[in-house]
């Protein structure tokens, strides 16, 4: 009794004697930690008990992964009891503590471990679509967590299950660095793959990964046209064979195919289409003069087709030109097509007028009902001699030294 009083007096003396600015309490006798556990399971109450003092002004500093705090004690059974707050007792990781006394002599650490049973499986699957063929893969990451949201201890067993068509596979992986993961390679065929995981009897929900066809292999192209004449009016349709990846999966709809047409002059024409059920279609108008096209298609950077050659025959061998009204009216036509029918409207006729070997004027008109009329205005073209060059359907006719008056 005497002893207790003595301690109390001494304690309070030291307490008041300590600097007013600092709250650290002075202790003179050996304070001892009365519990020996160094590991706790998350969620279980943790109370640090110290004997040797009943000075409730002694705070306990305590810090875990997320933060730190100070704990005020309660006296029970002549001991100081520090109840570790729930936010520390429920999160896994190393926890350190220190009694805030003059010399901070007493400190220690303990570890909070995850609960044994998972209650949720944090699952991350990505990418959500992969290419068939066995080269591409998706990754499944699982974090099995306990009731309090703590990742389970490392080397926890996780079963990764996946189904594709008739195949169902189970594989076992172990957690490491808080997570477990598995790479899942694509099958040969395209389709849907279903994934799920299991950990200690707990099953995750279902995850879907789309196995898309891989990129196309080389293919063939075809051309279809209503006739082989270069009438500048009909349309040639290009189609591809069915585009497939190397495992015979038809490529995804919408794959973009570009057709490159090189004509006799070496000029490049381009048309394109997107695949539907593997077939892409594109169109191009016939040329208006005889030509040979070489056509090749490609999926840019991925695959290409064979080259096909198309020849367009000319629709006419000659056309008539009539000068009238002091040679100021030039009438071209009738322009006749391959069956001697009047050529459909829209054939381009070009007139170039020279004087002294110099181009003075160029006119370009489209045919209407098989003919084209050029009127040479006397205000523009004074009286004199002119040369004319008329081109249509790839045929050029020249008239030298025509006199206008």
């Amino acid at each position: 009794m005497m002893n207790l009083k003595y301690i109390a007096v001494l304690c309070s003396f030291f307490f008041f004697a300590s600097s007013a600015k600092e709250l650290s309490a002075q202790t003179n006798e050996a304070i001892q930690l009365e519990i020996s556990e160094r590991e706790f399971t998350a969620g279980e109450p943790i109370v640090l008990k110290f004997s040797g003092t009943q000075n409730t002004s002694i705070l306990l500093y305590c810090a875990n992964s997320y933060g730190s705090t100070l704990i005020t004690p309660k006296v029970e059974n002549n001991q100081l009891h520090y109840t570790i707050p729930t936010q520390i007792a429920t999160k896994i990781g190393a926890v350190n503590w220190k009694l805030v006394t003059e010399n901070n002599s007493l400190s220690g650490t303990f570890t909070v471990l995850a609960q044994a049973k998972p209650v949720s499986m944090e699952t991350y699957v990505g990418p959500p679509s992969i290419a068939a063929g066995g080269n591409d893969y998706t990754m499944l990451v699982v974090i099995p967590t306990d009731k309090l949201g703590n990742p389970l201890k490392s080397t926890t067993e996780v079963t990764v299950k996946h189904q594709f068509l008739a195949n169902e596979t189970n594989e076992t992986v172990f957690t490491k660095n808080l997570i477990a993961y598995q790479n899942i390679y694509s099958p040969i065929e395209s389709g849907r793959m279903l994934l799920s995981t299991e950990c200690l009897g707990l099953n995750s929900k279902e995850y879907t990964v789309h196995v898309l066809p891989a990129v196309s292999t080389n293919f063939e192209i075809f051309a279809k046209r209503s006739h082989e004449y270069a009438d500048g009016n009909q349309i040639t349709t290009f189609t591809t064979s069915v585009l497939k990846d190397e495992h015979n999966n038809i490529v995804s709809d919408g794959s973009f195919v570009t057709f490159y047409i090189t004509n006799s002059d070496g000029n490049l024409l381009k048309t394109s289409g997107m695949t539907i059920k593997g077939v892409a279609t594109a169109k191009m108008m016939h040329p208006d003069h005889s030509a040979t096209w070489s056509v090749k298609a490609s999926v840019t950077g991925i695959s290409e087709s064979n080259t096909i050659s198309l020849t367009y025959k000319k629709v006419m061998d000659d056309f008539t030109v009539a000068f009238s009204e002091n040679n100021r009216n030039i009438s071209v036509g009738p322009l006749k097509s391959f069956m001697n029918q009047l050529i459909p409207d829209g054939l381009q006729v070009k007139l170039i007028i020279y004087q002294n070997k110099k181009i003075i004027k160029e006119y370009s008109k489209e045919s209407r009902e098989g003919s084209v009329n050029f009127e040479l205005n006397s205000n523009i073209f004074g009286n004199g001699n002119y040369d004319f060059e008329i081109t249509t359907a790839g045929i050029t006719k020249t008239f030298q030294g025509k006199k206008l008056w």
Partner: protein
């Protein structure tokens, strides 16, 4: 009479016309400029860069590869930024007990843990000022879709200071290893899981160097035209070289120079300033002068969240010059004890304690000291310094005794008198107080004591100055005027009587 009245009315009319017109112009222009404010098209996309450096602990990435997908440089930078920001907002949250910004850097589930701490600490009036000083992060795993990363962060040195009811309770420096899972959400790498795996007290022991007797006969130096702005726009190495010759010829062997924290660019030290410092040190080496380089001049924040910035400042400067032969010592801070009252002794000492570690860990060659302003504070942190230095501006009659008392307190360290001097000012604001004769007598007597006790010294200062910046002693004339007259050479370049006592 009538004419005068008419003129008055005329004048009044003209005047009121001018007033009304100017008011109209003002109204129209202000309403026009008001209508022009508001939605600025360039601000619509939030393209402006707002990032300011506010947290820069030392980061050393462990680059030993990782499981899963390869991490590209860009992603690594983004992860580093967001991860450090996560630490920063958490430190701010525990300091202020508010959860501002936490939502950006912690996922829904993770931020609950922080909110619980904040709620509890707020209720019990606990606040925690914390900062991390170094990290060694390592990417352990990067998921194939680039949305999840597992980091380990080793040897995270964390300093914490805890308060309860506004009063300081304790401070601690700890080293911990962490494992962290971050998820990419809304363009932020957010912490999903944070697990401290091990924790230990940080070892703050410092190795001090052994060295021969210092024998400093030195002087505190600023160029005459640019006191307290040695590395500014008017920097001229010719003037400085010339001054070095004067000092060398006078028999001095050491100069003490000052590096202003703000002027040198805070955490991001300006290359231009470093080059000027290089020139000064090179010139000193040529003239066979040693330099005591005083860091953190005019720095006065000391706040825990500002530490990392000061650490990067010191790191940049010290590592640049750690092998320079002209440097004798780094003086960490000039007269930090003057900030005890305004900033708190514990705050200042904790800052010094950790900045010492930074400087000593980088530079193992040069000595380290702190320029305490008086003998009463000079014993602080003595065990962590290579030599002790103090300043003395009090009565010279008591100097020898003060020094002997200090020597008794610190028997096994060399003690350097880092600043001393007397103003020769005896003008209007302090009539008859000082004169050149009195100044010369002061130095003569001081030199006798210094010689008798074999004390290393650096006097204040080479020149009388024309202008003293207000940040030095304020702007009151009875303070600034005496401050101008501490030199051995007056403002016209003439040697004052004290000059011959610059060295005994």
């Amino acid at each position: 009479m009538v004419k005068t009245d008419k003129n008055i009315i005329r004048g009044f009319l003209v005047f009121s016309y001018v007033v009304i017109i100017s008011m109209l112009i003002f109204l129209i222009s202000s309403s026009f400029s008001y209508l022009n404010t508001g939605a600025d098209r360039s601000k619509l996309l939030h393209t402006e860069v707002k990032k300011a450096e506010n947290y820069s602990p030392k980061i050393v990435w462990v680059e030993d590869g990782n499981e899963g997908r390869n991490v590209d440089e860009q992603t690594l930078i983004k992860i580093e930024n967001d991860y450090l920001d996560a630490w920063y907002v958490r430190n701010v949250a525990y300091k202020t007990n508010q959860t501002v910004g936490i939502a950006d850097y912690y996922t829904d589930n993770a931020r609950k843990n922080i909110a619980e701490f904040v709620a509890q600490n707020k209720k019990q009036q606990i606040s925690v000022e914390a900062t991390t000083l170094s990290h060694q992060p390592n990417i352990e795993f990067f998921s194939e879709d680039g949305q999840l990363v597992v980091l380990s962060d080793k040897n995270v040195v964390e300093y914490k200071k805890l308060f309860k009811d506004g009063k300081f309770v304790m401070e601690t420096t700890e080293t911990a290893n962490y494992k962290i899972i971050l998820l990419l959400e809304d363009g932020f790498w957010r912490i999903r899981h944070l697990v401290k795996e091990t924790i230990a007290d940080f070892d703050k022991t410092i190795q001090n160097k052994s060295f021969a007797n210092l024998n400093i006969k030195g002087i505190n130096y600023y160029p005459q035209a640019t006191p307290w702005d040695m590395f500014g726009d008017q920097f001229d190495i010719k003037i400085i070289e010339n001054d070095f010759s004067i000092m060398k010829d006078a028999g001095l062997n050491t100069i003490r120079i000052f590096i202003q924290y703000d002027d040198f660019g805070k955490a991001e030290v300006k290359e231009e300033k470093l080059q000027k410092l290089q020139q000064v040190l090179d010139a000193a080496e040529t003239k066979k002068l040693k330099a005591v380089v005083t860091l953190f001049d005019f720095y006065g924040n000391y706040e825990v969240l500002d530490w990392t910035l000061t650490h990067r400042h010191a790191e940049t400067i010290v590592s640049r010059f750690k092998n320079h032969n002209a440097i004798l010592a780094w003086d960490i801070k000039n007269e930090p004890n003057l900030d005890f009252e305004s900033r708190g002794k514990q705050t200042v000492l904790a800052w010094l304690d950790h900045i010492l570690l930074v400087v000593k860990s980088i530079d193992t060659k040069h000595l380290v000291t702190i320029g305490w302003s008086n003998t009463e504070s000079a014993h602080l942190l003595k065990d962590k310094l290579d030599f002790v230095s103090f300043h003395y501006y009090e009565d010279r009659a008591n100097f020898e005794q003060s020094y002997l008392d200090l020597k008794a307190k610190i028997p096994n360290k060399q003690i350097v008198l880092g600043e001393f001097g007397e103003s020769s000012y005896g003008g209007f604001w302090k009539p008859f107080v000082g004169s050149e004769q009195k100044q010369a007598a002061y130095f003569k007597e001081m030199q006798q004591v210094l010689a008798a006790q074999n004390i290393s010294f650096m006097s204040w200062t080479l020149y009388d100055f024309e202008d003293i910046p207000a940040s030095v002693v304020g702007s009151r004339p009875w303070r600034t005027n005496p401050q101008k007259k501490f030199g051995f050479i007056d403002k016209d370049g003439n040697r004052k009587l004290a000059f011959e006592f610059a060295v005994e």
